[in-house]
Symmetry: C2
Subunit: 396 residues, 2 copies
Amino acid sequence: MISNKMKTLLVGSSAIRAMFEEGKRLAAIYGEENVCDFSLGNPNLPPPESVKKAIIDVLDEDEPTLVHGYMNNSGYEDVRAKVAESINKRFGTSFAEKNIVMSVGAAGGLNVILKTLINPGDEIITFAPFFGEYRNYASNFDAQLIVVPASIPDFQLNLEEFEARITPKTKAVIINNPNNPTGVVYPVETIIGLAEILRKKQKELGNDIYIISDEPYRELVYGDVEVPYITKYYDNTIVGYSFSKSLSLPGERIGYLVIPDEAADSEDLIGAANVATRILGYVSAPSLIQRAVAKCLDEKADINFYDKNRQMLYNGLTEAGLECIYPDGAFYLWVKSPLESEFEFVNMAKEHQLLIVPGTSFGCPGYVRLVYCVSPKTIETALPKFKALMEELKKH
Amino acid sequence: MISNKMKTLLVGSSAIRAMFEEGKRLAAIYGEENVCDFSLGNPNLPPPESVKKAIIDVLDEDEPTLVHGYMNNSGYEDVRAKVAESINKRFGTSFAEKNIVMSVGAAGGLNVILKTLINPGDEIITFAPFFGEYRNYASNFDAQLIVVPASIPDFQLNLEEFEARITPKTKAVIINNPNNPTGVVYPVETIIGLAEILRKKQKELGNDIYIISDEPYRELVYGDVEVPYITKYYDNTIVGYSFSKSLSLPGERIGYLVIPDEAADSEDLIGAANVATRILGYVSAPSLIQRAVAKCLDEKADINFYDKNRQMLYNGLTEAGLECIYPDGAFYLWVKSPLESEFEFVNMAKEHQLLIVPGTSFGCPGYVRLVYCVSPKTIETALPKFKALMEELKKH
């Protein structure tokens, strides 16, 4: 009696659950400390100390009816003003309070902006490999997700193939920068190229096409890598942001959308995003944590922790003979499957108590994804297992 | 360029905003203290002191990566077990952890269960007057909302008219007990009557029809009034609950669904609600507040505050000559418009700096709704204004 859409989704979800159960089964046999789970992007890192202090300060300083009460569906005005100011300071933009819509994480924000924009049958383009939930979010609004094939081996944006897929039905393009699952960052030249194609196509088709830039990993970049702020290069850009990774708060469901004045019909977009936040049942982003993150806009989780993991995992797997994409951002390592079928490789890895995710989940077969937001101990334990796995493969 | 659905919704939202702006305009002319806003259900009451203590205890006692991290999409297992235990203790039910799905408020819960159940074109029945958002929630999933006309003057459920509206397309019935906007509570006999009709019709049609019981006001009842726990009377019942009013936490977006084992296909429902929570972009209910409310399940906001307001407003308006439904629950007063068009009455009230909501917003013209979760001062200021308004009406 569940809906037809959910029937299909439940099958997919059973596969994930099966993997989870498999992990538990392996832990029971080999001991939990010997099972290396690289499948789930749950930061193994506490939030900065300032977050706890900020929460307590909000509770001590502000009126409880303000802290826990309804506010504008788009969020507290003072919080939104502070967020705008912080973005402006960092990226040289000029957003105001009204351009910010606080959201239930980046996932909530993406659903709000899709509800705002999409008519059934519209097309949304994204680039393989991509965060698998985009497919579900598109389906929530009966849009078709059009996937641009991966650009192998650099996993940058394949702009030629992209241009070929723009049609009169194209309403939006989702990009994820830094990218999950590859850890690749798209540099400013790539963004400029993307913007040029879109401006040309908009003119040709007489339509607006929006870039939706999904940026939960914006703060997680290593060395001197920069993540371009796309609103500066293309007017019809909506940014979706989350504090899940930057402040290690994935359970708190807190993020925001940026809707610039420069975007076509921006006033309607801003108004509709407000209404969509309400009617999708979010009503608003959670209140206490909204006020708390506004006090921590200059903070971020200890990126060195991830950086060390990144080096250790990348070096270890490369030494073991695996071909890995060097990640400039996020906390994912994207690895070429040494077997044609990455499912076979994933299953063999399981025999070595290594849990990794097949690339097909991200629209890109032949690869696997590992997360490195795990404890360093997990990586240390895993490296000899990967070596043994690669030895075994050589024998075949 | 916003979607067609949103275009329509934006018009409706502009009407609400217009009223809000009108309130600000009146405040500028007459002084804020002289404008009596009875339009918004934002509790003017702090949460119990124990909530603040619970939040700080969670921050002090639990690991930060647990408190702020991802958990099962349905919520923390220990929180769900405590919620189940608390319901069982109070209502003599026998739910387990797996029957509870933590949600982003009641609004989030309703959207999750509709995503779980509804195919496009399905019918959802509700009873006028009803919480206006039901229309939007149904539309989110392309269901048709079928409205049973109000039972005047008692505003109980019109079961005869209800039965006549059940068709092979009927998938669910939403009831709101205690009711927003009337404050009426449906007693056990009414629920038994409703259940009998549904069982008969299920058999006749060979379909399952689910009651979705929306219960954000469950704890807000006065005197010895009891709100029946519907799962005890009808197997295919899903309960949606919120801590927004019971603990005065509407901004925190925290509630839960109850999906009993006795419901048809309950295992699929539970699994699909978990997936729906994820793909609708909620991902989970917010984490810290989940853990905090689990420590406050026996607490509730000071109901005496609302009770005093209720008496004062009901007595005052009745004395002024208005016909009011005596509310047994929630914090709304439902008043018959003394003019045929309640819009005219609402506009006249505005001239007296009284902001009230037309019944048409709840599918029931000829009535108006007032909230009494306001400060007692607002009611004191308002009563002479209502008297003056009624005097003016007599002169016409």
